[in-house]
């Protein structure tokens, strides 16, 4: 199995850019970027995808699995088309995050860690996103920060991501 049979040329080019940031004998430093790029393309990280990255970065497969299991934003199982991760830590909770989280659960009909039956939404509980002043805050598909999420704005977001 070669990397190009698993990942697109565009993804591999982005991984090459990441690799270039590190000393030539430290390709492995690009593993987090590579897994992120692969997850963007595939939606989640299968063993096959991780093995391909291991080969591409000349790492032992187990070293890649270790990284993918350690960092919480890597998904090793398929998730909904839209993944929402809302911070419920104390500073956010004091600013309405608990209410926003309850609203989301009720609206989507799922609990934390679950995916809607139609596969559209996965809801996760997140720890501090480093954006507490903007609470309630949630991450949309890992990369977009949605700030000051009132019920109104949550409705709009869900409509948009359906």
């Amino acid at each position: 199995m070669s990397a190009s049979s698993v990942l697109s040329a565009a993804s591999l080019a982005r991984i090459d850019q990441a690799v270039a940031k590190y000393p030539p004998d430290q390709k492995r430093s690009a593993v987090m970027a590579a897994l992120t790029i692969a997850q963007d393309e595939k939606g989640w990280l299968s063993t096959e995808t991780m093995d391909c990255i291991a080969q591409y970065l000349e790492m032992a497969p187990v070293a890649v699995y270790e990284v993918a299991t350690f960092y919480t934003m890597y998904d090793r199982k398929p998730v909904g088309k839209c993944k929402l991760a809302i911070c419920t830590n104390l500073p956010c909770a004091l600013q309405g995050a608990t209410v926003a989280a309850a609203y989301l659960k009720q609206k989507l009909g799922i609990e934390f860690g679950e995916t809607t039956a139609d596969g559209a939404f996965t809801l996760k509980e997140a720890e501090c996103l480093g954006a507490c002043g903007d609470a309630p805050v949630l991450l949309v598909n890992n990369k977009r920060m949605a700030c000051a999420m009132s019920p109104d704005k949550l409705d709009k977001l869900i409509e948009e991501m359906k």
């Binding site: 940031k21 590190y22 000393p23 430290q26 492995r28 430093s29 690009a30 593993v31 987090m32 970027a33 897994l35 992120t36 970065l57 790492m59 070293a63 270790e66 990284v67 350690f70 960092y71 919480t72 934003m73 890597y74 419920t88 830590n89 104390l90 500073p91 956010c92 909770a93 004091l94 600013q95 309405g96 608990t98 209410v99 997140a126 720890e127 501090c128 996103l129 480093g130 954006a131 507490c132 002043g133 903007d134 609470a135 309630p136 991450l139 890992n142 990369k143 977009r144 920060m145 700030c147 000051a148 009132s150």
Partner: protein, 437 residues
């Protein structure tokens, strides 16, 4: 709800702001930074060929202390770097801001990214370091992209790269993103993560100055620490020191969150009374009464209202009051907040984020969480409070990194100051405050 959306008034961070002075949220580009006098410190150092030792000496005079949590004197840290060491050396910026309540580095990077780049370039010059990495919290992808763009601007204008501004000084800088692990804010876990591994802290010593990234001498500082450097070079260490108070030089960005009318970042002189900071944040939301404050991020001991209202915001004053300035995250709680429930959420966080390497932390954080959980849910036993303290004692100081301490300190402080509330939960299986979040 939410921080002001850019562009906002240029004095939003407060009248005494130095790092965030004139920032509107829309003037982050290189041209804007230059028109604010940006990169003049780097230009001055290179054109006047200021000796690296003098840069470090200026930092020492300034009494700048690390803004990442531990408050270690920056000038002293920089002097540990073996400048003459012939091989590879690294400069690392810790932008993995994940301590609950802290959101200042995000504002520096998205609204004033070049001040960080300039600060790192000056650090690299002072310590003779050719390569640097900026490790950015994985959750703030838009900020990572902005830093990439700012870096490209700096490179194109020869502030970063080979023969910077025509001098003999070379410094290459790269951004690296995390992907969701609080522990990577700990400096040696961060280095492991940069090496493409699980973020598990290393045993110290050896310290990063001798064995850092890829085993090479490395200096690691927080984003805000680097961001303070250009001003110090432009205005002198003495002037920076004079902004604050002895041993507590300069200004500090405090992230104020919780039950205040205007949560946000406020940059004030160290030594500013807490009451003044609270006023800047619009006072208590809905006119409620102040009950408690965690003055330095979730890992630091909580303090009751009366103590806080009599305390100034600087390292030494907060330490004297019984807590720590930490990362400068000020979490404000009003009279309606239950202290058991508040502690429960924090204990869950440390349980969730323990990397699992050290037994006292891996097992202890779970134990703390489960005990606070049963007290909160009316299943507490009379002996639980002493047991909580004893478990906390057995974690603190017995782990490779300070995450264990960070889990233990809040538990001890919450029980110390609000023992009655915990006792009430155990005795009456309910809360003393009627409602909660």
């Amino acid at each position: 709800m939410g921080l002001p959306v850019a562009p906002f008034a240029g004095d939003m961070y407060g009248p005494d702001a130095v790092i965030m002075k004139g920032i509107t949220g829309a003037n982050w580009r290189l041209q804007d930074y230059l028109s604010r006098g940006g990169y003049s410190a780097l230009k001055k150092i290179l054109s006047e060929k200021i000796p690296p030792e003098q840069v470090v000496a200026e930092l020492k005079k300034s009494a700048l202390r690390g803004r990442g949590g531990a408050g270690f004197p920056t000038g002293l840290k920089w002097s540990f770097m073996p400048r003459q060491y012939p091989g590879a050396k690294y400069l690392v910026c810790n932008s993995d801001e994940g301590e609950p309540g802290t959101f200042k580095d995000r504002d520096i990077m998205r609204y004033n990214p070049h001040i960080l780049i300039e600060g790192m370039a000056i650090g690299a010059y002072a310590m003779g370091i050719p390569v640097g990495y900026n490790y950015i919290h994985g959750e703030i992808w838009d900020v990572f992209e902005r830093m990439e763009e700012a870096l490209a601007e700096a490179r194109a204008a020869s502030f970063i790269g080979k023969k910077i501004l025509g001098s003999e000084f070379n410094f290459e800088l790269h951004n690296h993103h995390g992907w969701g692990a609080y522990i990577c804010g700990e400096e040696t876990a961060l280095l492991e993560s940069l090496e493409g591994k699980k973020g598990q802290p290393r045993f110290k010593p050896p310290f990063p100055a001798s064995f850092g990234l890829y085993g090479k001498p490395t200096t690691i500082n927080n984003t805000e620490t680097f961001a303070a450097v250009p001003w110090i070079i432009n205005n002198g260490g003495d002037a920076f020191l004079a902004l604050g108070k002895p041993n507590n030089g300069g200004t500090k960005i405090f992230s104020v969150s919780g039950d205040v009318a205007r949560p946000g970042n406020y940059e004030v002189k160290l030594g500013t009374p807490f009451a003044k900071l609270l006023e800047m944040a619009g006072g208590m939301r809905d006119g409620k009464k102040l009950k408690a404050v965690i003055p330095g991020g979730s890992s630091m001991p909580v303090l009751p209202a009366d103590i806080m209202m009599a305390t100034d915001m600087d390292y030494d004053s907060i330490a004297k009051a019984g807590s720590m300035l930490g990362s400068g995250a000020v979490i404000v709680m009003d009279e309606t907040r239950c202290m058991v429930k508040s502690l429960l959420r924090l204990s869950y966080f440390y349980y969730e984020e323990s990397c699992g390497q050290c037994t006292p932390c891996r097992e202890g954080t779970g134990w703390l969480y489960r005990m606070v959980d049963r007290i909160e849910h009316g299943k507490g036993k009379p002996e639980d409070l002493d047991l909580l303290n004893s478990v906390a004692d057995n974690i603190q100081g017995r782990t490779i990194c300070a995450l264990g301490d960070a889990a233990a300190m809040p538990v001890r402080a919450f029980i110390k100051h609000y023992r009655d509330e915990f006792q009430h939960h155990i005795d009456h299986k309910q809360c003393v405050v009627p409602t909660y979040i």
